[in-house]
């Protein structure tokens, strides 16, 4: 059972297995294992989300930040307690959580803010999706000496981005 739950946490289960394992999370023991694996995963990723009082401290520090690091936003993250209450909801949420894992940015971003709050330097690194800074990047290239050594080669940067953000 442990191995299957581990695979579930890592998002490695086939659809058929997924359903079966999720159904079993209704059992309190299986759910405990599932939560434990998440704790381990969070610890490995150095996510601070599991530390007691995390949310309070995070909110305090964010409020105390002198600079606007990023607009306050709700970071989607697994909510353990409600899931324990409603196992059927958990099944849906697990699928959602696996989806989230594909996009590591939101949890990483939140973590980066907490870790660097003491340094007061680097903010959350996260996708700036719709900013459309390609025009700006293109304009910028002409002014960088290191870039100008290479003629149009650095324009690949602009091109590469545009491929992702059709605008």
């Amino acid at each position: 059972m442990g191995e299957e739950i581990s695979q579930l946490v890592d998002g490695e289960l086939e659809a058929a297995q997924l359903e079966r394992v999720c159904a079993r999370l209704g059992d309190g023991k299986a759910l405990e294992v599932w939560v434990a694996y998440h704790l381990i995963g969070d610890a490995l990723r150095q996510s601070a989300s599991v530390a007691p009082g995390f949310h309070e401290r995070f909110s305090e520090r964010l409020a105390a930040e002198p600079t606007v690091l990023a607009p306050p936003r709700r970071v989607p993250r697994p909510q353990f307690v409600p899931w324990a209450v409603a196992a059927s909801v958990a099944a849906v949420a697990v699928v959602g959580w696996i989806g989230l894992r594909e996009i590591p940015a939101p949890p990483l971003g939140a973590t980066a803010q907490v870790q660097t709050a003491e340094k007061v330097s680097v903010a959350a690194v996260r996708p700036l999706q719709s900013a459309g800074y390609n025009d700006y990047l293109m304009v910028h290239q002409a002014y960088s000496p290191a870039t100008a050594l290479q003629g149009v080669r650095p324009y690949i940067r602009t091109v590469a981005e545009s491929g992702q953000e059709a605008r």
Binding site: L128, G132, V159
Partner: protein
């Protein structure tokens, strides 16, 4: 053409004298000028590999310098078709898949190598410049040159140039952990010989009417007062231009300020933006860090080939002049 070459060398001699007067080590600045010169003047064709993160992109590059001036074309060899064409000071990027073309007319000669003398001096104050080892790149003998930053506000730069032609074969940026964050490299290169004019022309002769044309206007003046200023700049960075630009899709002119330490540049853009802007915060793509933040009805975007902390700190110090 000859006038341009003459202009270049006059500038070089003048800057050399300026350096001698200031007693700064001329090595780095002179080296930059020589390599920029080779990139402009020579005719060459080669395959360029661009790497950043887990991504690798391969392109073909053609460069022709003749009576019509400098013509250059880069075309992607894999993935979606991309094409970048430069004809002297105009750069055009074609994205056939998106049916988009982006055109930028540079204002002549406001770009490198027009380095200010004080920038050349600050180069040696902020980077340790040294000649590295001999190596082989693109099948030819190359010499490494290294710019090591003296603080954490800039990346390290490693360059390899062709011993025979002086052309830049490989350029690499590294972070403070010496991890490569971006690299451009020729995997094959032919210098000299005939470059067909057709090879530097866009493959799309006439633009289909349904394509979207994004234009970035030439700067009217290089030193306009935009009303915006930065309170913080890393040591050695000085303002090289300040102007307004008109950009397709942006209703109001955009303020553009550029700061450089002689090796890299950081651009500050301020646009009018009513309501909450979507993309705010820091993002990195290759060696480029972009930080966006909103101040009242203005969206401020700071970007450059520096660590994220640098663009963020600059962004945080921007104010409107009273």
């Amino acid at each position: 053409m000859m006038r341009r070459v003459w202009w270049f060398w006059t500038g070089l001699v003048a800057s050399g004298l300026a350096l001698a007067e200031q007693g700064a080590a001329p090595g780095a600045a002179e080296w930059l000028q020589t390599v920029a010169n080779a990139a402009r003047q020579l005719n060459y064709v080669g395959t360029v590999v661009y790497q950043h993160g887990n991504r690798v992109e391969t392109s073909r590059l053609f460069h022709l310098n003749d009576v019509q001036g400098e013509q250059e074309r880069l075309i992607s060899l894999e993935g979606p078709m991309r094409e970048i064409v430069r004809s002297n000071d105009q750069v055009t990027c074609f994205y056939p898949e998106l049916r988009v073309v982006r055109i930028e007319q540079r204002s002549a000669r406001n770009a490198f190598p027009a380095l200010l003398p004080q920038q050349m001096a600050t180069l040696s104050q902020n980077y340790n410049f040294r000649q590295g080892e001999l190596a082989r790149v693109a099948g030819v003998e190359a010499r490494a040159y290294v710019f090591e930053p003296k603080d954490g506000l800039r990346y390290g730069h490693q360059f390899w140039t062709d011993n025979a032609s002086g052309l830049l074969l490989k350029a690499r940026m590294v972070n403070d952990k010496n991890e490569v964050i971006e690299q451009f490299m020729f995997t094959d290169l032919r210098v000299g010989g005939k470059i067909e004019r057709s090879s530097v022309r866009p493959s799309i002769g006439r633009l289909p009417p349904d394509w979207k044309v994004l234009k970035v206007s030439p700067a009217v003046g290089v030193l306009q007062d935009t009303g915006w200023q930065v309170a913080y700049l890393p040591p050695g960075f000085t303002k090289i231009v300040e102007m307004f630009r008109t950009i397709t899709g942006k209703p109001d002119p955009v303020a553009h300020l550029v700061f450089s330490d002689g090796l890299v540049a950081v651009s500050v853009f301020v646009e009018t933006h009513k309501g909450q802007a979507h993309g705010q915060g820091l993002v990195r793509t290759g060696a480029i860090n972009v930080y966006a933040l909103q101040i009242d009805d203005h969206l401020i975007t700071v970007l450059g080939e520096t660590p994220g902390e640098t663009v963020q700190r600059i962004a945080g110090s921007i104010t409107r002049r009273r």
